[in-house]
Each structure stands twice: as C-alpha cells, then as structure tokens.
C-alpha cells in the first residue's frame, strides 16, 4: 500500500466527478431537497419532523452514496481499467481506499449541506447536539459508500447494481427502526435487524435526536458502524482479482 497511489486514485475519482456537473448537483442537492419535502409533508403533525428529521439527515446520504459508489466501482470493473490497474504495481486496498477518500469527501459535503438545510433553513430541533448529528450523518454516508463498493462485486451489469438498492438497502430501511420501533417487531424480524449495519447507524442517530445523547448503547452503535465501514472496504478489496477466468 502506498499513500501516493491512494491519493492519486482519490484525485482521479474526484476529477471524474468534476467533469460530470449534473451528478455533482444531484449528489449535493437531492438529499437536502428531500428533507425540505419531508418538512412540508409533516407540516400539520407538530413534532413529527423533529422526530424523524434528525435520522433522515443521515439516511438520505446513506442511500445516495450507496448507489453512486456501487455504480462507479462497477464501471471500473467493466471498462477494463480495473484489469489494467491490476497489472500495475499497486495494492488492491489502494484502489478501495482511494475511492473511500474521494467519496468520503463527497459524502461529507453532502451531509453538511443536508444538515445546513435541515437545521438552518427548516429549524429542525433535536434533543442532543447538532454537531453530533452532523458527524453521524457523515458516518452514514461513509457506511453507504463502503457497502456500495463492496456489493458492486456481485453485479455484472448496471441493471443488476441498480437492483441492489431495493434488494439490499430497502430491507435495512424497513427493519432499522425508522418505521416501527424494533422492540415492537416480530421476534424474528428484530433478530434479523441486529445483523443489518444500518440498524446501528440509525440507532445512534435516533438516540441523539430523541434522547439527547449517545449513551452506552449509542457508543456501541458508533463502534459497530465504524467496524462495518472498515470491514466492507477490506472485503471490497478482497473481491478484486488479479487473475480471472
């Protein structure tokens, strides 16, 4: 592994994005626009926006970063550039960390803009620290990115990669506790939710939003989330093959 190559890869990925202004606009604006939409949807239910607004500031970046990173990585695999990189003197992790840095940067910008709109423009009020919600939102973006990079290994076409969104992300959204508190779910579903990464990322956000602090469980949530991000990056690197059939 080499910081020179990791940085070069991150720069290259960001350059690719820079040459695609429409994607940048979509990445930065869509999550914030969705939060605005939610605000108006719940206009007549006082308190509802404050309750779910905090978690959503994190969940929207999770979803978009998952999609964008899985498609980008798939493109690298299908255009032959990955095979070329694999014949060059670089470590597999250089590629994954390069992507991680680049999309981490974009995800951070996205989470910051979404938070600025939610807290600044829409007067979202959370029980805990605003800064903590923003940091967790960035963590959610990174989680989405690392999972997206990993699952792209299992898609051969962009059609398949797009389908991973409902197949892989929606169940996590349904079971993470956003729609129904997990302790009110059927036992089997609650058990499954423990195995899903988004459960922990959401739980941490929810605790800061409603309880006001992370507490012991929230801290565990954060540790698990960071662990999954690193694990997904490592697994993603492991799926890159120098030799293929």
């Amino acid at each position: 592994m080499s910081p020179r190559i990791t940085l070069a890869t991150a720069t290259r990925v960001l350059t690719q994005l820079r040459r695609d202004p429409r994607t940048i606009a979509l990445l930065l604006i869509v999550p914030a626009a969705l939060v605005i939409l939610i605000k108006f949807v719940f206009e007549d239910s006082p308190g509802a926006f404050d309750r779910i607004g905090g978690p959503l500031v994190g969940l929207f970046p999770f979803i978009t970063m998952f999609l964008v990173s899985s498609i980008t990585m798939l493109r690298e695999r299908t255009t032959g550039t990955l095979e070329r990189l694999m014949t060059m003197p670089l470590a597999k992790l250089d590629i994954l960390l390069g992507y991680g840095l680049a999309f981490g940067f974009v995800g951070t910008a996205q989470a910051l803009i979404t938070s600025a709109v939610a807290f600044g423009l829409l007067d979202l009020e959370v029980a805990g620290s605003t800064v903590l919600v923003i940091v967790l939102a960035i963590g959610n973006a990174l989680l989405g990115m690392s999972l997206g990079l990993f699952v792209s290994a299992f898609a051969q076409t962009e059609f398949q990669a797009i389908q991973f969104m409902p197949a892989f992300v929606f169940p996590q959204l349904l079971l993470c506790g956003l729609f129904v508190a997990r302790d009110q779910m059927a036992g089997a579903l609650e058990a499954i939710s423990y195995a899903l990464p988004l459960t922990y990322a959401y739980d941490a956000l929810d605790r800061v939003t409603s309880d006001g602090s992370l507490g012991g469980r929230g801290t565990v949530d954060v540790i698990v989330t960071c662990g999954v991000i690193l694990l997904a990056l490592a697994l993603g690197a492991a799926t890159l093959r120098r030799r293929t059939a």
């Binding site: 550039t81 060059m88 030799r243």
Partner: protein
C-alpha cells in the same frame, strides 16, 4: 519469455491446448491467427491475468504475473482501457503516479504515439485515438516487455506504419514486444512469428523461415499452406 504446455479452459471449453513456445528478448514477435483462435487468452497468460489450467509462462526469468514483473510489463488490451470521462493528460498523469514515473514522461509517450489532444476528454476522441492513449499508458514505465493486443486495428495506414516504426525502435532499444494481429501484412514487420489456429500453435518461425518451410513467397499463402499441411496429417 517461455511457455511450457500452456492449457487454458474458459467455461467448459479448452481454448489453449498445451502450447509451448519461446519469445526472444529485444525482438518483435508477431502473434497471428484468425479472430477467436486464442490470441488474447495467450496474451493474458503472458501478463498473468488469466487463470490457467496447467502449464505456465516464465517471463524475464520469473513466473508470469509475479509482483516484481508489474512495473516491467506493459499490457495493452484490445479495447482501450482508459477513463473516458477525464482528459488524455489526466489519464496519463494518474497512471504515471501509480507507476512512480516522472510527470515529464506523459508528454514523451504522447509524442511517441503521436497524440496531441492533451486537454481533450477521452470519450470525445475517436476509437483510434483512445487506443493510442491506452498504448501510451503502457509505455510510461519503459517496460522490458510490451504485450500489445491488436494495437493497429482501425488506425489509418499512415499511423499504422508510424506505430510499427515505433515498435521497431523500441525493440532496437532492447524492449521485447509481443504483438497480436489478424492481418498478415503486419507479419512482415516482425522478427519472429507465432501462428495460431483454434487454440493450437501452427508454427513458431521467422518470416523467412516460414517462407523456406512452405515454399510460399506471400506470408498469407504460407499460413494457408501450414493449415493444409496440418489437416493432411
């Protein structure tokens, strides 16, 4: 470089049937044969990106695909492997940083392949120009072995001659080249030839050796004579 009973199975088909051959250093070796005869698979074995069933390839004294070969072997795939959404210069600078070569090499290799569109986005260029970006990338690290898969397909005749002049110059400077082609007139420019058909090696000869063996002046006719000779057995 030497291959020893190289066998490759892709899917449920054996595509290379135990090939053995050598490629001399500092020479241009042409790999010729019709489309689908296994040229690309053989080149992938040489670069070490192909899973092989049995046998193996030694490159510059070590097994193909060894980590120490990565900076010493340049591989150009048939479809240009470049990032289409960034400029020519950005492509080359990225690969130069990976290879750890000076940024000044970027303009040198662009000159070598007669590319001038430094600031143009790769996707806006023609297929021939994109394949020259791909070739330029392989030249960045001044590799000892260059493996080129049909590098001249779709290029205009003037440029094709220029590229072959470049290959000759590289070989004279000590680079070993393995160049595939399905047009026989390029065989003339090679020092030695590997003729393939249906995953088998028909001959490993110099162009003159091939003429002497078959009694044909034209290399295309010589290739046909070899196929007949093989079928007669």
């Amino acid at each position: 470089m030497a291959a020893e009973s190289l066998t490759v199975i892709r899917g449920d088909q054996e595509v290379l049937h135990g090939l053995s051959f050598t490629v001399p250093r500092g020479r241009i070796t042409g790999l010729l044969g019709p489309s689908g005869c296994g040229k690309t698979t053989l080149m992938r074995c040489v670069v070490g990106v192909q899973i092989t069933e049995s046998g193996g390839v030694q490159v510059l004294g070590v097994p193909a695909g060894s980590a120490e070969l990565r900076p010493r072997v340049g591989y150009v795939t048939q479809a240009p492997s470049v990032y289409g959404d960034i400029t020519v210069g950005e492509n080359l600078r990225y690969f130069a940083r990976i290879l750890g070569v000076e940024a000044s090499r970027v303009s040198e290799v662009m000159k070598t392949v007669a590319l001038e569109e430094h600031d143009r986005v790769a996707n806006k260029l023609s297929g021939g120009q994109r394949s020259r970006i791909s070739l330029a990338t392989a030249l960045l690290a001044e590799p000892d072995l260059l493996v080129l898969d049909e590098p001249t397909v779709g290029l205009d005749p003037v440029l094709r001659v220029e590229l072959w002049n470049t290959f000759t110059a590289l070989a004279q400077a000590g680079t070993t080249l393995l160049v595939s082609s399905h047009v026989m007139d390029e065989a003339e420019r090679c020092d030695s030839l590997l003729l393939m058909r249906d995953g088998d090696l028909l001959a490993s000869e110099t162009p003159d050796g091939l003429r002497a063996r078959t009694g044909e002046e034209d290399l295309e006719d010589a290739f046909l004579a070899l196929i007949k000779e093989r079928e007669a057995v």
